[in-house]
Symmetry: C2
Subunit: 344 residues, 2 copies
């Protein structure tokens, strides 16, 4: 346990003992070792530790993360979003299987800031992604249970790092639910992919604002059978449209590709595009640059969250804000006044 | 002075006296009256008071704002942005003159979070908008001097309210400079307009990300002479493009119009479109709804700014954050750790 004890954030011997007891005699050190050696069981245990809200577990979780930190970062982080019905699970299963069969280690995570039950909504996907879930090279993790957006964000990022330490070189992060999940996922991945169906015009009307401009690549899904001709036309339409938009990543031209998960066509092209993307970004320094700004942004937003949370946790603050807002809307107060009153 | 003295945020008699002295015997009450009666001189004085950073002036400025608050809100607030070279000043002069000649009272303000010198960059525009500046129905105000984004934001909003109290029923707010000015302006106006030139394809490549989706209307400018044919083609292209994007305002279909400020064509159509927009939004309740959320957002963002400012004003905090960021990028710290250290 020397490594842990000497660490600046190490636990006291007593605490460590309690933790060891609780986790059925698996110490943080053992957990670290087993995760680094690729044990899926221990990876799952580690993630549970990171998601725990007891202060003791939190400390152990952070210790674990600190231990594995030097082994993180060696993956391609891919975010996947899609219009409703686009077939995200089907795509992830097909795409993940192709990569897993080719020897890649594939982790599938989900971000769902809107989930309100423990376990999250990807649990269902796990049964739907049956074949991928059984593959020895794959690891599927349900989205963390509900909490603040910042909390879900934190858990997902830390889970991603732990997966990387366990040797997963492809991380697929799925956006689930509504709200800000796309922006959160865009802020933690290297490559962001949008799954759409045929009929760009009608579809875009229901698409979330600005989502197209976050995408490094668009997959026109279900490009098979009777749908194939229309899918190819849709690909052309999206390419035209992308030409008008600012690129999501500097120096990269986002493009659209037709894919059939059913017939397993186009999946290889998607992967090749992602590899070309990586090469391009690495050449220009934007690969590492983006990751560094993502980390900094994460840090800043956590500082921000803490300050806001602490402020609103003070007794009476929520009520005071609500009361002042009423005055603002009634026109009996100026905003500057309201803020001054709140802080004086 | 009864009205002021009895107000909950009223100044002490001594302070009021000092203020009265400083401002050449113009009391807050007199200022209020003169502004409500439409004196441009006093409106300018009032804005200067709101922009002042001395605590005494601040107090007087807020008192003034509180006095006029019931008389604010009766205008159409129009934000105007454009690609470089689109001719914003020329458009504002022509559009403003048309409205001023028709009996509207037109105030022109500018938001420039990037300006670094007192006076701001619209000063030059004032001389360029020569005819409008001389019109008795027009009021042109340079952008407030540099400061934080939040500070510029606050000043511009309060200036807008004061102009409304002075009877200006059309407020044109121009975005100047780079950075976040478009988002700031979108957050304080009813109608947001984007000025572009011909050649949508090439132009959009240099356009700011997401800007199209903020616009309630697009003006294809310099639609005259040899340029007219191309401008009409560009209008069509933008209309097609807008069809693919989410509307900037619920229930409103953003559209594109050709305008020549030189030949004064198309200006009337722009105004008619804005009036239709107002009617549509009022019918659905979104007109007032948006204004209310803008006020709430402004309040929340000012609370946020205060918390962050106070935090970073504590001795050593900036240095601590920089040091922790270094550790994060070197991979010797986790983000959760870094935040914990900062707050413990």
């Amino acid at each position: 346990m020397a490594g842990i004890a000497s660490s600046h954030d190490g636990m006291s011997a007593a605490r460590r003992k309690r933790f060891v007891k609780k986790e059925r005699f698996v110490s943080v050190e053992e957990l670290t070792e087993k995760i680094l050696r690729g044990s899926r069981l221990h990876l799952a245990k580690g993630i549970t530790l990171l998601e725990s809200i007891t202060s003791q577990d939190k400390e152990a979780g952070q210790q674990l993360l600190l231990n594995v930190l030097p082994k993180t970062g060696n993956s391609i982080r891919i975010g996947i979003t899609g219009v409703p019905g686009a077939g995200k699970s089907t795509f992830i299963e097909a795409f993940g299987l192709m990569l897993a069969n080719a020897g890649h280690k594939v982790a599938v995570l989900a971000i769902d800031p809107s989930s309100t039950v423990t376990g999250g909504s990807i649990l269902g996907d796990k049964t739907r992604m049956e074949e991928l879930a059984r593959h020895p090279n794959a690891f599927i993790r349900p989205s963390p249970s509900a909490g603040t957006l910042g909390g879900v964000h934190k858990k997902s990022r830390e889970t991603m790092l732990l997966c990387e330490a366990a040797g997963y070189d492809v991380i697929l992060i799925e956006t689930v639910g509504v709200g800000q999940s796309e922006t959160v996922v865009r802020g933690m991945v290297d490559y962001f992919m949008l799954l759409v169906l045929t009929g760009a015009g009608d579809e875009l009307q229901g698409m979330k604002k600005g989502i197209m401009e976050l995408a490094d690549g668009i997959v026109v899904h279900k490009a098979d059978g009777d749908n194939l001709r229309l899918a190819k036309k849709t690909v052309k339409e999206y390419r035209q449209l992308l030409h008008f938009l600012q690129p999501a990543s500097p120096g990269w031209t986002s493009t659209a590709l037709p894919v059939s998960s059913l017939q397993q066509t186009g999946l290889d092209e998607v992967w090749k595009t992602i590899l070309t993307f990586k090469e391009t970004m690495e050449r220009t320094g934007h690969w590492e640059g983006r990751r560094q700004s993502q980390t900094k942004d994460w840090f800043r937003s956590m500082i921000n969250d803490r300050l806001i949370d602490a402020f609103f946790a003070e007794p009476g603050k929520k009520e005071a804000v609500a009361e002042l807002e009423k005055g603002l809307l009634e026109g009996t107060l100026t905003v500057t006044h309201a803020v001054d009153r709140l802080f004086n």
